[in-house]
């Protein structure tokens, strides 16, 4: 069988794409992963790589023409394969799987712009791949290969992604060991992950998440001053904190960064994205600070005052919805990292600057409105530190992921979901 070349789904709202140019002509040789054609969607133009090596035939969608996602646009024949008729009426019949009437209905009710972002956010919490329809087998395979489902076209009923679609994307005929992830790496490797932890925490809070992402080599951690191993540096304001952090960020010298921040670190990440728009390509904000005034200062004070695990544990438990979730070792590690009295003193000084009178004295909603970078906010409905409703101040294009039964530590409490969200392109 020749390999089907389909119109890929390159962003979440995409239903159809226009082919701007073919890099390979009918009958010409093409290598797998070589540029095959350029497409344009409502939002972006991009180059699509060849899914296989061979000879290109039966170009069904010419330059300037558009096709629905998942619709075959050409076929690649392996060496020795006999080129016959364009394969399959069956394939051609896939086009109506998104009926024209349904598309019209979608367009008849465009987002009004007045809708609360909550509506989008709540639906987004239902599936980690936000709206992607895929079978369990396809999801399992995609996860093991690190394939982004949102970037695939589905050939199942109503565009559902089947196992075969993921296999086609990874160019394997049978499930292969996870280590063999070269094809998928193409999608992911250009992006570097940079993490920014929250107040009174440290880089160690990301360890489990990074391990699960399997990216030890390409993840960087930024630490706030006076946290973890980073020396204390007095700051007079949130802006100064951002400035300090921006220096650290610039020192990394990274481009194509996916910045992931938690709590205060999320506010910092947002400010960095605003100031470094070319370097930061995506932004994931976990329980972000800086979007509203309220914050649970007693818990902060409790954590700052604790000198040992016994007094720290009750306050740490306030961070999570399920108080049994925090292990003894988690608490011990947190206590150990705060054993140095100088650390506690420095953090208390920072708390008085950032959260005077139990109020978040800084506001990054302006930045959130301003930045163009794709942004996700993850909040737990049971967050006892920062009210999740602050997230409702986000503009409509920001995706909200609101989780029931989750507190202030998404990366610990909903590890699987956070891993899936970070892996998913949008």
């Amino acid at each position: 069988m020749p390999t089907e070349v389909i119109m890929p789904k390159v962003d979440m709202d995409m239903e159809r794409g226009t082919i701007i140019a073919w890099h390979v002509s009918e009958g010409e040789q093409v290598n797998a992963a070589a540029p095959l054609f350029d497409i344009e969607t409502d939002k972006a133009a991009m180059e699509v790589e060849s899914p296989a090596s061979g000879t290109l035939h039966h170009i069904a969608v010419g330059e300037g023409e558009e096709a629905e996602i998942g619709h075959p646009v050409a076929w690649i024949y392996a060496e020795g394969e006999v080129v016959g008729e364009a394969p399959g009426k069956a394939a051609g019949e896939k086009a109506p799987t998104v009926p024209a009437a349904a598309r019209a209905a979608d367009r008849a009710a465009p987002p009004t712009g007045e809708e609360s972002p909550l509506i989008e956010g709540e639906s987004a919490t239902m599936a980690t791949d936000a709206g992607v329809r895929a079978t369990p087998a396809a999801r399992r395979l995609a996860q093991s290969f690190g394939v982004d489902l949102a970037a695939l076209g589905g050939t199942g009923p109503r565009g559902r992604i089947q196992k075969r679609d993921v296999e086609a994307a990874t160019r394997v005929d049978a499930p292969a060991p996870v280590a063999d992830r070269a094809p998928a790496a193409k999608v992911q490797s250009v992006e570097r992950l940079v993490f920014v932890h929250g107040f009174a925490s440290d880089a160690g809070v990301w360890a489990q998440l990074v391990r699960r992402l399997g990216r030890d080599a390409s993840a960087d951690m930024l630490e706030l001053p006076g946290h973890g191993k980073t020396p204390s540096e007095p700051i007079a304001s949130f802006d100064e904190l951002v400035l300090t952090m921006r220096r650290s960020f610039d020192e990394l010298g990274l481009e194509e960064v996916h910045l992931v921040g938690h709590s205060l670190g999320a506010a910092v990440a947002l400010a960095l994205a605003d100031q470094r728009p070319r370097a930061v390509r995506r932004l994931t904000l976990l329980a972000p600070a800086g979007l509203g005034p309220e914050i649970n200062r007693p818990v902060i004070d409790g954590i700052l005052s604790a000198t040992q695990a016994a007094s720290l544990a009750p306050w740490l438990k306030e961070l999570v919805a399920d108080r049994d979730l925090l292990s003894v070792s988690f608490v011990d590690a947190a206590a150990a990292s705060r054993a140095d009295p100088d650390v506690r003193t420095a953090q208390r000084a920072m708390a008085d600057i950032l959260f005077p009178d139990g109020v978040q004295a800084f506001d990054v909603t302006q930045q959130l409105n301003r930045i163009a970078v794709p942004t996700r906010i993850v909040f737990g409905k049971d967050d006892g530190i920062i009210p999740w409703r602050h997230a409702l101040r986000a503009p409509g294009r920001v995706s909200l992921h609101l989780f029931e039964g989750m507190g202030h530590l998404p990366q610990v409490e909903k590890l699987d979901d956070v891993v899936a969200l970070i892996k998913t392109r949008w």
Partner: protein, 340 residues
């Protein structure tokens, strides 16, 4: 005489009908174990409503092959009591539909006595239920009520689909310390198959893979196993390799065999004659959905079961009310082609 705990190899086999295989099992049990007695309406001189018991009364006499009065409740009660006090009764219902009359003895007594008496007494009774549609016997004599009894902890429920298993499961049931309900499809009585001579058992709680395949799994019970196998033949000609699992026991269900198959094929169809909703198919589907095998599903699960109506007398409608070979083929094609 309950020493036959394992299946032993039998070189001597021959073709027997399903009914003959059951009769042979009862014959062997009667001759090997003096505690075994047969009880039921018209099983004596008449030989049973479906002639399964045949002439055993002449071989073993009225003391061991007992005609009971026309009271299922009374007959089942005597059988349960006899089992509690040391016998190994095999009680035959004329039609499984009449289990409704004996529910007190089956559900409240047989299933619970061992539990309620702290294990002091067990109820090793075997009950046989001629079941299913297809004989033009209309709504009150054609039902498939096996899921009713499978819902009761304390009972074991089996549905042999071949002469081999009809004999082996009956002998296994006699070895079991607890009540075992055997549902025999009436249309299977005349079907033939290879049956070993002598005593052997087919283990309760163990499904059989009747045909291996890699494209989809069909889990079937009783007569639907035959239909699934016929469907698999049709599908094979189209290049679709269906794996057919004969559940054989519906309580306790053989989880591992089903899950292993679904992990392999990624697609599941269940076929059973009982009413579709709240039936065996729902249990098998839920079992898969609740397990790690869920992650291997590449299509929604499809259930093929009986229509939501009493079994009609009209022969055309009677046939239409339960899954047929064509239905299995059509469902398998749709699942395989990704149309569901």
């Amino acid at each position: 005489m309950n020493a036959h705990a394992t299946i032993t190899a039998h070189e001597a086999t021959r073709e027997l009908s399903y009914a003959e295989a059951i009769r042979e099992a009862m014959d062997i049990a009667l001759s090997e174990d003096e505690r075994v007695v047969l009880m039921g309406e018209d099983i004596g001189v008449y030989g049973g409503a479906f002639q399964v018991t045949g002439d055993l009364i002449h071989k073993y006499g009225e003391g061991r092959v007992l005609d009971t009065p026309i009271s299922e409740l009374g007959g089942a009660g005597v059988a349960v009591g006899a089992a509690m006090t040391g016998l190994r009764p095999i009680f035959e219902f004329q039609f499984s539909d009449f289990a409704t009359l004996a529910m007190e003895q089956i559900v409240n007594q047989a299933a619970k006595v061992r539990y309620m008496l702290g294990g002091a007494v067990s109820v090793p009774v075997v009950m046989r239920f001629p079941a299913g549609s297809g004989t033009g016997a209309a709504a009150q004599h054609s039902q498939s009520l096996e899921a009713w009894l499978a819902h009761v902890p304390g009972l074991k429920v089996v549905q042999p689909s071949t002469p081999h298993d009809a004999k082996g499961l009956l002998l296994a049931a006699l070895d079991d310390p607890d009540p075992v309900m055997i549902f025999e499809h009436k249309l299977l009585y005349k079907t033939k198959g290879t049956v070993p001579e002598g005593h052997y058992i087919t283990p309760i709680g163990k499904a059989a893979v009747r045909r291996e395949g890699s494209d989809l799994t069909i889990v079937a019970t009783s007569i639907m196993v035959q239909k699934a196998l016929e469907a698999a033949n049709v599908l094979a000609a189209e290049g679709i390799a269906a794996e057919v699992i004969d559940l054989r026991t519906i309580r306790p269900i053989d989880r591992e065999t089903v899950l292993a198959s679904v992990r392999k094929t990624g697609r599941l169809i269940t076929v059973y004659e009982g009413v579709k909703t709240l039936g065996i198919g729902a249990e098998v589907s839920a079992m898969v959905a609740e397990s790690d095998a869920f992650d291997y599903l590449d299509a929604p699960i499809v259930r093929l079961g009986g229509a939501e109506c009493p079994i009609p007398y009209n022969p055309v409608l009677e046939k239409a009310a339960v899954p047929q070979v064509d239905d299995v083929v059509a469902a398998a094609r749709a699942v395989h082609a990704g149309r569901v």
